[in-house]
Amino acid sequence: MRLELRNVYRAFGGKRVLSDVSLTVEQGDFCALIGPTGCGKTTLLRISDLLDTPDSGRVLLDGVDCAGCRGRGRTMIRRRASMVMQRPFMLSGTVEKNIRFGPGVRGKRLTGDEVAEVLAATGLTGMEGRNARTLSGGEMQKVAIARAVVTKPELLFLDEPFNSVDQGAKPELRTLVGRLHREMGMTVLMATHDLADALALSNRTAVLSDGRLMQAGETGPVFGNPANLFVASFIGMKNIIPVAFENQEAVAGELNIHIAEKAEGNGFIHIPPEVITISLERPDSSQRNAFNALITHIEETPMYDTVHLRTGGLALQAVVTPQSTGHLGLQRNSRVWISFKATSVRILA
């Protein structure tokens, strides 16, 4: 299902939460909605899922304006979508009861096989009889995802779906969400404040700040080329590079960067600024990645200096101590060697 918001405004008790937000999510897209806590992400999702009504503006689902729909019509449209909340609320009773709920309110009774199938798909096999309220945070979120996708939604909203789970359970859930999206092909809009989630899962990213849409587009360009200072500073993570993986190399612009793991296809790598070493001579071969770079700018702070570099068409940043800046005689427009270990390169995928 295609979702289109047009000039959506929403205020609560005089406080403006969304201002003139226009956003399109095409059929089959996985769109990440990123922004700091309290920027209006949840309100945007609730309006999109017709749980809330905008003060003005339109919510078009497959081209039909549904913002003003009421009663039965609204329920019927909402039944084509589903949503996973930030903090999962479990219906009292068993996991199976939770799974059966969505189809149940639509007048459909799942067969035992259908229940088993969705449990298997979400890694919950054997848990159907458990009391849903006694599960761990990660398990509850899996149940929340399972009961949302069992209705085969054309549009799935995820509101910070990994927020209430501990760090250990996060990668598994993230993989699960990615796999369900690939297999079921529904349109997904996921609110998150974790950029790694956006990079790992989405093909499109929208950045929201203080109720306004800052930038929206394909994920790579949004991260690689922030539209404005807010997006750039919110993205915060330095040296995120869109790359094509070829075996144990990541190709970015003119550079072939050695990485520690094998990877395929397109993705992103992150080279933390603090792992980059700057030297005047080409370093010896123990450092696998070494490139000649031009210093474009040096940002000085009392604690450390950020050296902005350009190499092979990429803009990178490195962090050095003020002593090193002086010792190496680093200055704008001078050429240096940068190097970093293959194992220091983080693959975001």
Binding site: D49, L51, T75, S82, F89, V105, T151
Partner: protein
């Protein structure tokens, strides 16, 4: 003192031998009170749901007012329904005054604020995320209300029991609109309050013991349902 002890023994005998008059009054009281509470629940649980979900100006004030009427004096409820049902009143045509139906009407009116208020707080007590979650999973407004009432089922049961406890022990309304007519509208409370004046001490004590037992039973059940939070 001897007389009192003697009356007490007679009272116990009345209860345990199943004295027809005592049994008849007890049964009528239970029927009337249960009817009042069930009817009040049928009307005011849905209305409570509407008040919980609806958003309109003055909603907070209205809910506050409802809660202020928890302690509505029973004779006030009786007076109002009396005026409504009396020959010259707007519903006088129905000839309901001094019937058990009149008592039921007055008691429904009496417990309305209690049931309404307790249902609203019961729904309020359900996890704030519940309504959104249920709606997002495709539930219609009716289905959503149903799920929330189920999630709050022990609080809803408490509301029912509190309502029942209030009507079974009230005397003012039953007296005013029922009239304490023997064999027709006499209830436990009206029988006790008028019986003692007529010197029917043993019978009054018997009815008192039954009333107290019922009231304690209800309170105990309220306590039990309050303990269940699952």
């Amino acid at each position: 003192m001897d007389k009192l002890a003697e009356a007490f023994v007679i009272a116990l005998r009345l209860i345990f031998t199943g004295d027809p008059v005592v049994m008849e009054i007890t049964l009528r009281t239970l029927t009337v009170s249960a009817s009042s509470t069930v009817i009040a629940c049928l009307i005011f649980i849905p209305l409570g749901c509407v008040l919980h979900f609806a958003r309109f100006p003055g909603r907070g004030f209205l809910i506050g007012t409802i809660q202020a009427f928890y302690s509505m004096p029973t004779v006030f409820a009786g007076l109002l329904i009396f005026l409504l049902l009396s020959r010259t009143g707007p519903l006088g045509e129905l000839r309901l005054l001094f019937t058990t139906r009149a008592i039921v009407i007055a008691q429904v009116f009496l417990v309305a604020p209690v049931i309404l208020g307790l249902i609203i707080s019961a729904l309020k007590g359900v996890d704030g995320q519940a309504a959104d979650t249920v709606r997002a999973l495709g539930a219609s407004p009716m289905q959503t209300a149903g799920v929330l009432l189920f999630e709050a089922r022990f609080a809803v049961l408490s509301a029912f029991l509190m309502g029942f406890g209030r009507v079974i022990s009230e005397v003012g309304a039953a007296m005013m609109v029922g009239g304490n007519i023997a064999g027709r509208t006499r209830t436990l409370t009206t029988a006790i309050s008028l019986g003692i004046g007529r010197g029917e001490v043993a019978e009054s004590i018997a009815l008192g013991i039954i009333l107290m037992t019922l009231a304690l039973l209800v309170s105990f059940m309220v306590h039990l349902s309050g303990l269940r939070k699952a």
